[in-house]
Structures are given as C-alpha cells and as structure tokens.
Amino acid sequence: MRATVWSGRNTVQVENVPDPKILNDRDAIVRITSTAICGSDLHLYDGYVPTVKKGDILGHEFMGEVVETGRGVSNLKAGDRVVVPFPIACGNCWSCEHELYALCENSNPNAHLAEKMFGHATAGIFGYSHLTGGYAGGQSEYARVPFADVGPIKIEDDLTDEQVLFLSDIFPTGFMGAEFCEISGGESIAVFGAGPVGQFAIASAVLLGAEQVIAIDQYDYRLQMAVNQAGATDVINFGEDASIVEQLKELTGGRGPDAVIDAVGMEATHGHGLLHTYDRVKQATRSESDRGHALRDAILACRPGGIVSVIGVYGGLMDKFPTGAFMNKGLTMKTGQCHVHRYAKRLYEHIRNGDIDPSFVVTHRVGLDVAPDAYETFKHKQDECVKVVLKP
C-alpha cells in the first residue's frame, strides 16, 4: 500500500510499504477513505519529538471502511464505516474504566521508553513516535486498529467524511479543552492559537455557554474563521511587540479571562524579544524541547483563581515556567491528550443535530500522493491553510 513516512527532519515521503495484517484477536483492518494532517504532526515533522524513526508512517486522524476483523471483534463487520480515535485504549484497565482512555495502561508496548521520559507510560497513539508505542499511522491506504472492539465510532448516516473525520482528534480535543474550563454560563475564555484545535476549543466554549471567547493568533484569516465560523466574540492579532497579557486585560475590564486555553503547544511562534531568542536557541540546540511563550502568557493573563487548560502538545522540558504567578494567583492547571472515547458519542450527536459542522476548518483537500507538499503548505501557513484532508 501507499503510506506517508517520516524520512528525516522536515521530510516525509509517500512510499510503498507492506499491507497491515491482523496481529491480535481484537484488531481490525480499516481501508482509509479520509485522513488529515494534525498540527501535532508538525512537531514530529520538525523533529522535536524524540523517538521518531525513519520509515515511521505518520497520521493519527483517519476514518474509513472496515475490511477485516479479528476473532475478538464482534461489534464491527466488514463494510462498516468508522472514525478511529487517535489514542489506542484497551477498555479494561483501571484508567479506561475511569474514562481516562489516553492514559490506557496496556496499549503502549514501549512502556520502558515512556517511563524513562515521563515516569509512567501513557496510551499507544497511531503514528506518533515510539514513545507512544511505535504504531503505524493512518496517512496511508490501510491501517491496523488494535482494540477495535473499543475505539472505532460507527457512522450510520449519510454525513460526509469531512463532517465526522475530526471526531478522531481535534473536535474532542478542543471540546475537552473547553470542558476543563468549568463553564457554567457567563465566563470569559481566552484561546491561544486559532489553528484547527483552537477553532474547536472556541466553538465548544460557545456551545458550553461562555459569554466572551477571545481568539489569539498572528494570522488574520484564522481569526476571521474564529469569528465567522467558530463564534469568537473578540480577537487579538499579536504584532511583534504587542503584549497579549495587556490586551487580554483590556478586553476583560482588567480582570483577565476566567480560563485560558493553550491550543498552541511546544512550537509557539510569538514571544518577547530576548526570551523568544533564548527559546529558539535552546530548542535549536536541543537543550530545551518546548518553546513556551503561549503557556507563559496564558498563566500571566489568567485571572487569579482561574483555570489554565493545556491541550497544545508538549514533549519534554520547558524553561522559565512562571511558577510564581502560577502559585500566587492560585491557578488550576488541567492538561492531557484527549480521552476521545469519552466524548465521541456526545459530539457525534451534536454533529447529527446540526449544532456544529466541523468541516468548516477544512481549507485543503488533496490526494495522499502529494502529502509532502501538503506538509509544507500547512507548516508554513501558505495559501491560508488551516486544515488539510488527504484522500488515499
């Protein structure tokens, strides 16, 4: 089959690789009909996530048609249309039973690697380095889906691929980021980053009843999407010297947002002069893996007693974490890879009811074979790119 493989920093290629086979009884094989490039794939593409290996198939957002099932899978049959959640979860361990699917205790067969980095192993993830299991990803024609009796979301109506594809990751991820904010009605929420996850965090905050939702980005076309499609009430386009913290206070009567969502992660692009240079140098020399402007600003901007929701992906270590502000302002931080299985049914219902049409983020649709160009377009935000869908 054809698959998108990582072949070194800033390089992916579409190559012929063997077709996946059923390896365990609870596996299924899915023929992929749509798959997407995620902002977090760029962290791998750029070489900032350790344990990515030449030849690894990338991609953790995919859907398609079941073609084969193992003996232990009775809920699916060949021909079923499914969206596959990006974390692989067994459904049996203590974490899965408590809906902490992205922390599944069994699905990562490289626990020894993960324990070295993080102290504990977290769930296996498709196409997302060997730290999360070394599973082949879904930017390909077929994928093997372990624990297929637990994960895949069956799509049983005529919604298009693009309307349901993002149940695999970015819609539930954005939703979890908003849910972390404990919105009960009337809050001000600031969302750092108006990429695809940021768009869904904004839309979800609106859905949950926030009164003011402020989108922060450096690209006007993304901020326009945030207002016109996702429902943001205010925007901040940060210029080189603009202080996001001051602007956020200005927009909230000096209080600061009740909760802030970091939908940026480890490769923040803005920053303040010297500190930004410091981060760039440290990250380039691999002595700091995470550039943390967005998270630092989120902490400084958040109102005392507020919540910092971190759904942007971080991979290692960050310098100059503002512990003083964090502690003295009595903030609460909530983080994590999304427990997609927890939200899938509820969000699928929202799509079916017409409360939201997640396809609004899609700006580019291309064939799998041009994935290398699509990575470049997405990375450099060319052609007003927000989200790329690949068609195998």
């Binding site: 205790e105 490289n110 299991g133 070394g134 082949a136 372990p146 624990f147």
Partner: protein, 127 residues
Amino acid sequence: MKAAITVHKPRDEVRRLWSTSGYRPDYIEDSDASVEFKDAPGDRGTEIYVDIGDPTGGRLGAVVRGLFGGAALPKVKDDLRRFKQHVETGEIPRSDGSPEGERAERKLKQRPAQPLEQSELEKAAVR
C-alpha cells in the same frame, strides 16, 4: 529492591492465573524470586511485588544477579507488564515498532512503525 505492578482484577483470580500455563511469567517464576500479592486500595485490584534483591551489590545482590543475569529489572518488568496486559485485555498488545509486545531488548532496536513483511510476521509468532 522490588518491582511492582497493579492488576485490575481480584486477588484470588490474579493468584490463580499467575501459575496458569499461558499466563505464568516464566522469567520471574524460574528465578525463585519471592513474589507477594496484596489487595490494592479501593477498586484498583491487586498489587504484585517481586523482590529482586539488591542489584547494586551485597551477597544477596550477587545471588540475584546470578539468577536473573545482567538485566534483571527490565526483564522482570517486562514479565509483569505482559502478565497485566494478558490478564486485563486477553492479549499482549503488539505494535509495528515492537511486534512481539513489550520487550526490554526492543528499547534500542525499534522497527520502523510500518506493517511487517511476511517473514517478520512469522518471526514475531503471529498466528
């Protein structure tokens, strides 16, 4: 020094499976290491402790090193994780990078994360 893991099943079931062929953690059991089973707090299941002695030295440490070879702790941990996986999920999860499932030897020798060739499938004892 002890290696430990928690299995999300009641103690009598965990004890029974521990000595059932197919589940039995051969590396640990063949070493005569002392193994202890305890009820975990709340709804968490059963804690298993394997005493691997003092791997840094001393007489007991030397005995343990003799029993376990050079890489005692990683191999004990593999056994514990595979036992937990098997008991909780009914299978040993395999990835493309680690097709045999959790193995300390794979730490530095990951396969690329892409599907296996036919010859590799046989080697990894699939089907």
